[in-house]
Amino acid sequence: MNQTVNDLMHKGLITCHPSTSLGQVATMLTEHHVHALVVAEQTDIPLGIISDFDLLAGEWLSVDEESLNTMRKLTARDLMTSPIETMDADTPVSKAAERMDKKDIHRMLVMNEDKPVGILSISDLVAGIATQEPVRRKTVEDVMSKTFLVCRDDNTIISAARTMTQAGWRSIIVVDAHGKLQGVITGHQLVHLAGNKVAEDLRVKDFMNRDLITVDINSSLQEAADMMIQNHRHRVVVVDKNDPDSFPIGVISSFDIVAEMARPGSIWQRK
């Protein structure tokens, strides 16, 4: 596999004018869900790049009213990183990664025939790695998520809802101060709170489901599906039955199983 930058980059540029205020830059980053803007007067001539990290300097100085006023007058031009590192769209991904690593940078401007055509960030490289996952379908281990959301049991419900929404994830595994598994919180449970003002001090532990259903990592997908249907659960926690008190290995959801059904080449897709 010889992927090039062109295969992974985010096409197009999200730009701001050099005179944009820092507050406005913060708003644009948040609204576009990006971590950097290209600073340019004309789209084809980028002057620099400004990231969330560059804005920290603003936060750092906002300690008293006077310096805050100074900072408010600053613009994207004052805090941007310039010049921008660039690379050609046909650069092999491995070369791009090597350069980003060496230069300790998080993104580069991608050029095609001397025109800027997109941005390649570390997250794009991570997405490239993610596609290399081998395809198998037999046991829970093959399709489960080994990385999952976790939170402490004394957190507020509102903070849990916020992270679930941000991450587009539908459950959080709950642990105590020692990291020991306590329960799970799902959107399904939060429905009980919907429509009313949620008490700011309502804790995850007051609301989570303590009746956890677990499945062994070596179980078959049929066993997992069976367990979900019988218990009417949309996800079960994956553990190692030989070591039941250890930190969970992951989570398997009904959507993970369906994603496997959708995979080209799965038994469901063959004619």
Binding site: M1, N2, L22, G23, A26, T27, E31, D52, F53, L55, L56, A57, E59, W60, A97, M100, H106, S121, I122, S123, L125, V126, I129, A130, E133, P134, S145, K146, T147, L149, C151, R152, S159, A161, R162, T163, M164, A167, G168, W169, R170, A177, H178, G179, K180, G187, A194, Q222, A225, H234, S246, F247, G250, S254, I257, V258, M261, A262, W268, Q269
Partner: protein, 271 residues
């Protein structure tokens, strides 16, 4: 001000006809990143819903070749939930929550003037709950994320990259079998391992993670946090409580959390 179902719903319907094979339903769910399709008849009228959970029955029966052949002939119309529970667009969102609880539904079709205009799901209600957070900006505890991604030390890096990409999350905390935090994996740690042949399949997060973890006390000011990030060039800090040595992490503070706070209407940076 009470929100209406209209304010929360996902506008429009993603539909399929009743004769859609189950494998195709799975593909549509995964491609659209949704958990349910609306089944419409030849006149476009919604007649049922089919969710990832309904498809589990398919997985459950695919254990042997004979059953699988039968299942492959089944269609969306056979496994769908019907009739559909609907709710009016202009009623308060409490009503949607109540109806979902009463009927044990995960989603409702929203209608307006007798026509289906969207779907409201549990995730939409969770998103509405998450916005009820207080506006404060003084300490780390005011803006940090209280739930975060975690994985065990033996997780393959490709599996971690997949969830980072899916959730748009930029770091994963690595813990051992006894819940002890060992380190953190970010996109930057993965850069080293992008090469011409892709990524080593047998490389685990413990082989690439950064450690020790850079931490900050939950009671510290945002100013202190920004200061530490800039000086040490950290993009995120693990939040702990100094009164609780060795406890499971409380959360994560990233440079983006601080910028999101700057972007909030009414913050010192806006207006």
């Amino acid at each position: 001000m009470t929100k209406l179902v209209r304010d929360l719903m996902h506008k429009g319907l993603i539909t399929c006809p009743p004769d859609t094979p189950l494998g195709q339903v799975a593909v549509l769910l995964v491609e659209n990143h949704i958990h349910s399709l609306v089944i419409t008849d030849s006149t476009g009228k919604p007649v049922g819903l089919i969710s990832d959970f309904d498809l589990l029955t398919g997985e459950w029966l695919s254990a042997d070749g004979e059953n699988l052949e039968t299942m492959k002939r089944l269609t969306a119309g056979k496994l769908m939930t019907s009739p559909i529970d609907t709710i009016e667009a202009d009623v308060p969102w409490q009503d949607a929550a109540h109806l979902m609880l009463e009927k044990q539904d995960h989603r409702l079709v929203v209608s307006e003037n007798g026509e289906a205009v969207g779907v409201v799901s549990i995730s939409d209600l969770v998103a509405a709950i998450s916005t009820q957070t207080k506006a404060a900006r003084e300490t780390v505890s005011d803006v940090m994320a209280y739930a975060f991604l975690v994985c065990r030390d033996k997780t393959p890096i490709i599996a971690a990259a997949r969830i980072m990409t899916k959730t748009h999350w930029r770091s994963v905390i690595v813990v051992d079998i006894n819940s002890k935090p060992l380190g953190i994996v970010t996109g930057q740690d993965l850069l080293w391992h992008v090469d011409q042949d892709g990524v080593y399949e047998n490389l685990n997060v413990e082989d690439v993670m950064s450690h020790p973890l850079s931490t900050i006390d939950i009671h510290a000011s945002l100013h202190e946090a920004a200061n530490l990030m800039i000086q040490k060039h950290f993009h995120r800090l693990i939040v702990t409580d100094k009164n609780e040595a060795g406890g499971f992490p409380l959360g994560i503070l990233s440079s983006f959390d601080i910028v999101a706070e700057m972007a909030r209407p009414g913050s010192a940076w806006q207006g």
